[in-house]
């Protein structure tokens, strides 16, 4: 039976998720316990390969879509649609899932119930990939909830301590209410248009603007942004994140901070940009204000942390602020300046959105690297307190150097990759000469980057340059299976920093796909 290429990643991931517990039973009976880890890593590798195949296919023939049976999408048929933006984001999800699975083989050794762990990790990535491929709200909601249920449980995986249970419960309640808010907005949108398909709704919106008031549409936009924004960790809806990310096991922290919050940003951008054309609805201002607020408040919050994973969690929120500002600059440029100077507006919008997507990529790789690296330190030293970890980078050379590379890249030091993405966003803000608000946002991004770089460099100094204490002096390098993902991610960061051309091209085609020409 021939499975269409677009269905393959999700099908592989879901089928493996169901098979892993069976493999575990077989493995335990045959006394070869490692079979389930090997199987899970193989499943992730297979999904990543089929995602690469899909990428090349899209490069050859254009966006792929899959319609169930012969029923056209406007009648409510299921449509899965993969364009450049979906594949851009899904490659990140699958790749980081693969590296997290390789890392978990050693890190999670001491835990029981590991068959369910790998099963849930596979469902998490399946839900994420499904979110990025879905083209109507029903599909989006089902895959979104699959992702959310997996991530709630994985945060609470080490339930024998109090901290994951408390953090997981807070995360569950807040995120569920966010999803329900988004669903309420979707139901109002359904009421106005009678369909849930993105394409059908976007073609109906201009006709409806006279019948229903403008206020209704802004209500829907507000509900969608705040609903998906809980998972995307925008301020003031971010309070679950600094508790959930440290409490989760390190590979899950890397997945959460690297990809799950990006799925929230993806959902916001896809539902806003595709349905409500930025030419007629002004949500650029909203996204820019939220972005600046997120950056500033999270930067202030990060200053007071003594726990390494909590510091990294706050810096994740800061980077989501950068991404949102980039998207907001793009939308604002189109809304306000399209009528007067279309060329400048379009180029500013593409530059802004491309910078935002490039920064999404950089931050996912970088934050994944940082959480996996700090997981190496925590695994060896059994503490998360920075003051007890001083100088550990000198004892654990490979992890320490990769960790520092990740911090430098996120701080925006050239020639590492973080510099380019922030530069694009800032340039997009300055590219329209007569706008005041965009320039203010760009200046805010510059100030916040400098501020963030200061505590990144402080962290590098604590980890690498200080003298190791007694306990740290006995630490040794982590197992190679844990260091390998770190090295891969660090190499990716350096390569993308020195030769950003390919990723920039990819991000630009994704930005064009998002803005729809």
């Amino acid at each position: 039976m021939e499975i269409p290429l677009i269905l393959q990643p999700v099908a592989v991931l879901l089928a493996s998720a169901v098979v892993v517990p069976l493999i575990d039973v077989v493995g335990r009976a045959a006394k070869a316990e490692k079979i389930r880890e090997i199987f899970a890593v193989a499943a992730f590798a297979a999904a990543f390969t089929s995602m690469l195949n899909l990428y090349f296919e899209i490069g050859r023939t254009g966006p792929q879509s899959f319609v169930l049976g012969d029923y056209g999408p406007s009648l409510g048929g299921v449509q899965l649609y993969a364009d450049e933006l979906s594949v851009f984001v899904s490659l990140l999800f699958c790749g980081l899932g693969l590296l997290a699975a390789i890392y978990s083989v050693k890190y999670m050794e001491v835990d029981t119930g590991l068959d369910k762990y790998y099963s849930l990790l596979l469902t998490l990535v399946a839900g994420l990939v499904g979110v990025s491929f879905s083209r109507d709200f029903f599909n989006l909601y089902v895959f979104w909830e699959m992702m959310c249920i997996s991530s709630y449980t994985l945060v609470t995986f080490r339930k024998y301590r109090w901290e994951p249970v408390e953090a997981g419960f807070k995360y569950l309640i807040m995120s569920t209410i966010g999803s329900l808010f988004a669903l309420y907005g979707i139901s109002i949108l359904y009421g106005l248009t009678g369909t849930l398909n993105f394409g059908a709704i976007s073609s109906m919106i201009p006709l409806l603007r006279e019948r229903a008031g403008l206020l209704t549409f802004y209500l829907i936009i507000a509900m969608l942004v705040s609903g998906f924004g809980v998972t995307a960790a925008v301020v003031p809806l971010h309070t679950w994140l600094p508790d959930a990310h440290p409490a989760a096991p390190s590979p899950i922290s890397a997945m959460l901070s690297g990809v799950v919050i990006k799925a929230g940003v993806y959902a916001i951008s896809r539902s806003l940009f595709t349905i409500f054309s930025p030419l007629s609805f002004d949500y650029g201002t909203l996204l820019m204000i939220l972005g600046v607020l997120t950056m500033t408040i999270a930067n202030l919050g990060a200053l007071m942390q003594r726990d390494i994973k909590r510091l990294l969690a706050f810096s994740s929120i800061v980077n989501i602020g950068y991404i949102l500002s980039g998207l907001g600059i793009g939308a604002y440029a189109l809304t306000t300046y399209y009528a007067s100077s279309p060329q400048i507006a379009i180029s500013a919008a593409i530059l802004g959105v491309m910078g935002a997507l490039f920064h999404l990529f950089n931050h996912a790789i970088g934050k994944g690297l940082l959480f996996l690296g700090s997981g190496c330190f925590v695994h060896e030293l059994e503490t998360r307190d920075i003051s007890r970890m001083e100088g550990v980078g000198r004892r654990m050379i490979w992890s320490g150097v990769s960790f520092s590379l990740g911090l430098l890249a996120l701080a925006g030091i050239p020639p590492l990759s973080g510099f380019w993405s922030k530069l694009f966003i800032i340039l997009a803000g300055f590219s329209v000469p007569e706008s005041g608000l965009m320039k203010v946002v760009s200046i805010a991004i510059v100030i916040n980057s400098i501020f963030a770089a200061s505590y990144y460099l402080w962290l590098i100094q604590r980890i690498m340059l200080k003298k190791p204490s007694e306990k740290v002096g006995q630490a040794s390098e982590a197992h190679p299976l844990m260091v390998l993902p770190l090295l891969i991610l660090a190499i990716v960061l350096v390569v993308v920093g020195l030769w950003p051309g390919m990723i920039i091209q990819f991000a630009e085609s994704a930005a064009r796909a998002l803005l729809g020409g």
Binding site: E163, I173, T176, L180, G191
Partner: protein, 103 residues
């Protein structure tokens, strides 16, 4: 002249608000989970209210509601398992006790 669907939409908005109040102000964790379920009921009613047309009830709305009920049941199961785990750690189901993580 008030139409039927307007009554349903208002009722669903009221239900969502009651659910939000329940989540925000109850000290018992189980009551918080019940509040989430109340919000879900309100949203389901909203979908069904908009789905009634001259051809009868719209099956797209019905299928979304069925899916939403299934998902809410799954989320409630996971939430209540977490409540039981929290009870084993803290000895009570009071949300105020879950305040060790600050800043």
């Amino acid at each position: 002249m008030v139409e039927v669907w307007q009554l349903f939409v208002t009722t669903s908005a009221l239900t969502v608000i009651i659910g939000l109040y329940c989540v925000a102000s109850k000290r018992n964790m189980i009551k918080t989970v019940i509040g989430v379920e109340i919000i879900t009921s309100g949203i389901n009613l909203n979908f069904l209210a908009f789905g009634y047309g001259p051809y009868g009830q719209d099956p797209l709305a019905q299928s979304v509601v069925i899916t939403s009920i299934v998902i809410a049941a799954a989320v409630a199961a996971v939430a209540l398992s977490m409540v039981i785990n929290a009870y084993r750690h803290y000895g009570s189901v009071d949300v105020k006790k879950l305040s060790r993580l600050r800043w």
